[in-house]
């Protein structure tokens, strides 16, 4: 194939080469295709028809035609163009202003016929190089295009797989949903008796606690009676009680006889059974006389203390649900300061703890425990089902996202998805993760910089899939957010070939991939299709 191509190219070049002999016949700078308009010794009509001039004013170094057509071989017209035959290479038009400007533009040197510039005819050499590179390109394109077909095929299969997977997931999602609903019912069924049993247990515990409390109170009362009954006459008298200044109802520092009598219910003295009613009035304030052995603080004052604490916090506008906040804080570990501030002072838990220490709830009875265990299992089962469903949902979302991406007309770019390609320069490692992001990481330490997140295909209308645009990268100091333009060219391999930053914080990356390889052109097109190198 390549041999045939070479042969054909060579023969074309030969045809052109022999053509030079004929060229002198037409005015300088006129292409073969327009030769008919320049007939020797006949008046010349400007190609735009604007005027007609004698033939000797064609190429006489003075511009007569508005369209510049009378001076195809001189620099006289500002809008003219000069045709170089470039035998051995490909013909070209150059602006008239480049005729005789001292710079060799045409490889056949014909543009510099009167400037003193010494130009070498490089057409054959250029033609050779051009053919070589065209051949290389043709091979690359050919192979690349084959690879592309493969990619398309794979992408199609991949797409089908994904679609299938999605359908599958949709099915399993339904199953999971049903399962979850069933387990929810199971859970509820198990939790109701559990709740009841727990409440029951709690209630009986409360009752038991009350009994213990009353017992304790009674013991204390008896102790107090004995303590107060100084003369051990079986009565507590006004005089005996009067020594307890802490019981002073008006807190004026003295416990009068009348006041004391009032405490004793108007009586002068009370016996054990009557003391019961008196006790309920004074027990809150009563201090044991045995100072070395103060009575263990009873629950009541503790409860007050605890209440005070809570009300204090209320008045300080603490969030009422600070306990909840604390949980949040645990979720958000990064927010150290926040955690510090919101931490609840440890004292708040102290009274409850003490109470718990003193009076801890007895373990559930076996029956209740069975119910609890059953409920817990139901809950775990339900949670697991829920988690499974979430997972399936996530998988579906990812799949849908991937399926939804514009991977090109035949999904030929799909293989780039979730891949990354790196290019190492003297200072940085650049990383292109197609359809995701571009980043830059210094080679010698330092953190990665986001050069842009996938934006859209941004090629010209006729070739939309030749350029990728990544934007909204890390902001530039005093400048815009970083962005990257990725130019895609045909290649056998998928590689980042270069990066640059033509404008501050606007990066340009060149990327080769078979996915942009076009169907190889016919030989004729290879030769004449491009008019510029």
């Amino acid at each position: 194939m390549s041999c045939a191509l070479l042969l054909l190219l060579t023969s074309l070049a030969l045809v052109m080469g022999t053509g030079t002999a004929v060229e002198i016949q037409r005015p300088r700078g006129v292409p073969q295709s327009k030769r008919q308009f320049y007939e020797e010794n006949k008046p010349f009509t400007c190609l735009d028809g604007s005027s007609t001039i004698p033939f000797d004013q064609v190429n006489d170094d003075y511009c007569d035609c508005r369209d510049g057509s009378d001076e195809p071989g001189t620099a006289a017209c500002p809008n003219g163009s000069f045709h170089c035959t470039n035998a051995g290479f490909r013909p070209a038009f150059i602006p008239s202003s480049r005729i005789n400007d001292g710079i060799c533009d045409c490889c056949d040197t014909t543009d510099e016929y009167n400037s003193g510039a010494t130009c070498q005819n490089t057409c054959r050499e250029m033609g050779r190089k051009e053919r070589e590179s065209l051949q290389i390109m043709a091979e690359i394109t050919k192979e690349g295009f084959l690879l592309k077909q493969q990619l398309i095929h794979e992408a199609k299969r991949g797409q089908e797989d994904k679609q299938g997977k999605l359908t599958e997931l949709q099915g399993s999602k339904k199953g999971l949903e049903g399962k979850m609903e069933a387990l929810r019912t199971v859970k509820k069924t198990a939790e109701d008796p559990e709740k009841e049993a727990k409440e029951r247990h709690l209630k009986s515990w409360e009752e038991q606690k009350e009994l213990i409390r009353m017992e304790k109170d009674k013991t204390r009362m008896a102790e107090a009676f004995l303590e107060l009954d100084d003369d051990a006459d079986g009565y507590v008298s006004v005089a005996e009680l009067q020594s307890h200044l802490e019981l002073d109802p008006d807190s004026d520092g003295s416990l009068t006889e009348t006041e004391t009598q009032g405490l004793l219910g108007g009586a002068g003295k009370v016996d054990t059974s009557t003391f019961e009613t008196v006790w309920s009035g004074i027990k809150d304030k009563y201090l044991s006389e045995g100072l070395s052995d103060p009575p263990a603080p009873v629950e009541t004052p503790k409860e007050e203390e605890s209440r005070d604490f809570v009300s204090d916090h209320d008045s300080d506008h603490y969030p009422e649900d600070y306990a909840g906040e604390e949980e949040d804080v645990e979720d958000d570990e990064e927010d150290d300061d926040h955690e510090e501030e919101e931490k609840v002072p440890p004292t708040v838990q102290t009274p409850e703890k003490r109470e718990d220490d003193e009076l801890s709830m007895p373990p559930y009875d076996t029956e209740t425990q069975i119910l609890i265990d059953a409920a817990q299992k139901a809950r775990d089962d339900f949670d697991e089902a829920e988690r499974a469903l979430r997972e399936v949902d996530g998988q579906m979302k990812n799949l849908e996202k991937e399926i939804g991406f514009d991977f090109g007309p035949s999904a030929e770019f799909a293989y780039l998805y979730s891949q990354c390609y790196e290019l190492s320069t003297s200072e940085y490692i650049y990383r292109l993760c197609p359809f995701n992001r571009v980043s830059q990481k210094p080679k010698f330490g330092g953190s990665e910089t986001n050069l842009g997140l996938w934006g859209q295909w941004a090629g010209p209308e006729e070739n939309l899939y030749s350029v990728m645009k990544y934007d909204h990268g890390q902001g530039c100091w005093q400048g815009p957010n970083r962005s990257t333009t990725v130019k895609l060219t045909c290649g056998k391999e998928t590689v980042v070939t270069s990066t640059s930053e033509p404008s501050r914080c606007e990066y340009l990356m060149e990327f080769t991939t078979p996915a942009v390889c076009q169907e190889p052109a016919s030989l004729d097109e290879v030769l004449h299709g491009h008019t510029e190198l």
């Binding site: 003075y62 620099a75 100091w477």
Partner: protein
Amino acid sequence: MAAFIVRMGPLLVLWLAVFLSGTWAVDRGNFKTCDQSAFCKRQRALKPGQSPYRALLETLELTNTKLTLQLINDNNKVRLLLELYRLQGNMTRVKINELKPLKPRFEVPDVLINDPPTEPLSLLSQDENGVVLSLGADSQWLIVSAKPFRLDIMEGREVLLSLNSRGLLAFEHLRIRKDTQVDPEGAEKKEETDAANEPAEGETAKEDGMWEETFKSHTDNKPNGPSSISLDFSLPGVEHVYGIPEHADSLKLKTTDGGDPYRLFNLDVFQYELFNPMALYGAIPVMLSHSAQRTMGIFWLNAAETWVDISSNTAGKTVFGQMLDYVQGSSETPQTDVRWISESGIIDVFIMLGPTPTDVFSQYSSLTGTQAFPPLSALAYHQCRWNYNDQEDVAAVDQGFDEHDIPYDFIWLDIEHTDGKRYFTWDPHKFPQPKDMLQGLVDKRRKMVTIVDPHIKVDSSYKIHNEIRSKGFYVKNKDGGDYEGWCWPGNSGYPDFTNPEMRAWWASMFAYDQYEGSMENMYTWNDMNEPSVFNGPEVTMHKDALHGNWENRDLHNLYGLYVQMATAEGLIERSGGVERPFVLTRAFFAGSQRYGAVWTGDNTAEWEHLKISIPMCLSLGLVGVSFCGADVGGFFKSPSTELLVRWYQTGAYQPFFRAHAHLDTPRREPWLFGPENTALIREAVRQRYALLPYWYQLFYHAHHSGQPVMRPLWVEYPQDTATFSMDDQFLLGRDLLVHPVTEEGGRGVTAYLPGKGEVWFDVHTFQKHNGAQNLYIPVTISSIPVFQRGGSIIPRKARVRRSSSCMEHDPYTLFVALSPKRFAQGELYIDDGHTFNFDKQKQFIHRRLSFANKALSSRNLAPGSQFITPSWIEKIVILGASKPSKATLKTPDGKENLLEFEFDASMSVLTLRKPGVNAGVDWTVVLQ
């Protein structure tokens, strides 16, 4: 950000140092007001009418060349010496110094091109009140009044100008510092306050800042104590004064009552503000006064920090008020009063008496020299950006211009091209093969400019630094060590450019074997030469830094001039004295015009900045600097496409035409804004290139006779008061009037076409318009309103090519715009475009083109010259013509040829086809 810091390295450090604290705009607080500058505050506190100075007439001595006379300050008995000179060319020089200063006071060297030749003065009369001297020509007198001392220059009965008429002459004599530290309030006060002008009671030396002054965190030690000088000038009959650049302000200077004076102190001002008297990068202490009767100039030759106060007795008055004065007959003559205040040095004033604007330009250029004649290519288009990243980038931009068929001559490299901001070096990764790159440009007949700033990285592995240090060429700090400051490379030294040996060494560094990678097509840009010192007071050098024996205080404004001088000398030397240099500078002083081009510094991509480029360059042109331009597009920020296009259109008609952009701005090469805008920019640049023969000729004249290239209208129409304040349009030479569109969304401009009885031709449509009218011109985005004066002939080259060099041998098209009397005159100047041969060997062609009596002829204006050009006359376009029956070309060999022609009756345009005659010979075309 971390990655950014690593990559940005030194640059970021700089930014952190300079900008992070501030906002993204000028920080006025970084720069002194008069009140914060101790000497300005002291001087400005003086009240007029109390001059303590008396002329001691008995000391008068008159020699052939000068008059000397002692002045005494009656308050402190300190004597001054007055020297008066009559200079050739209608100028008077007034010098005042201390009679016996404690030590010499600084006198500015290297600015005057020679000792100005004098003319004899003669004593006409003398009595105890004063003397009258004849100034020679034009019945001009100089009256010296004794008490109080005062000078009046008269012509006939008219006072042209008076000195010390308001009694603001003040000369702080040098004194020995008494023990002020022990008792600043007591014993010393007497000594301090008996200075020339009796500062108000209760002010202490410390408050006065006489011996020490602190601004922000910087303390200025003043071992020499107070040394400021001041003098006032009155200009009767004058309502318009101009000049004293550089300020971002209107062309006509404003009165400074109630605000700060105009300040002249070379400073690197970050994001400068418009319309205020703050100092900028350069300082030219020259003011022009103009009235319908006379144009004059005052050149205050002092390189220290200087403030200029302007007041006017008519400025505050409304038109009605002025009418009322007139009707009631109570009108006083309008008068402008000017007062100059400098921190040190002596009073050395040149009074240029005109009387015409042309005379003043000649007078000033006879003192400080004319505009350097640039290589022709430097007048073409320059493409710059901070920064073209690497060699590939340069090649791609070069290619871009060809692909889009836009001409350009120079591509520029800013600081990033160097190896770590070490000037004279190349970044080894980005520019590994500079000669290959330059050769690539040679192949396209294009050129390059690289930046060489005067701050030198302190780095013992840097050859330039080591040599400067070992030769002792650095500026010293007050303690005698090398002065160091912070600039682009980090810690930097500042070579003492005032030292001629240093300058010679610096120049030698531009030799091709010294500046590695340099080639013939590489030229130079001196930036940051105020000098900019990021961590210095007001972002510049400490005033107590030492240049040899002199403090920076004495010569601060000269530093930038010396940098450009030494650089230009280097470029001349490297070619063996053959090639003309091209050096762009940001800082400048009087005389800088001799060394190259100036640009208006770091402007901003805003419409107001586009507009201000006109008065800023006009002001520079009036005081000698013709080669002026503003960054096209604006340096900071990003221009809208419309602004960019309008800026190209304006810049194409301003002398120095360079696009430039800040590092942080998006790219803005001309083809990046869509095909339509590319075409608009291409067209603007092409208009520039077609007009290069005219530009070159204007620069030849600027070089030859000191006439500005870009001129305010009043220069050519000095009696037309309507033009006196105009700065939204301008003339190029005499013959082109440009009124660029500088309004966003502009749909039309009103151009003033001057000259009663004259006509102007639209250069694009050839439409004829009468002079002395305001003409409304509807505009589109492609319009650049330009008019050619009827009576002129302008040569153009219609074949616009890739670069000006490519057009060198191209033929000329002559545009003959006839006056109503069917007359026209112009010139054609041709030389090799780049060497000194035009000067040294008279190798040039200079021809007079004139149209009269229906004949257009070319004759030699410089018979002693000789030059051969292959260029010929391609076409002659005669505007305002009538149709001839035939046109005959006559050449010296006696041949006669009939020329073909076309006549456009609707526009009265006659086009003669292809005369074909060589541009360097005599010829005549006769119309019949």
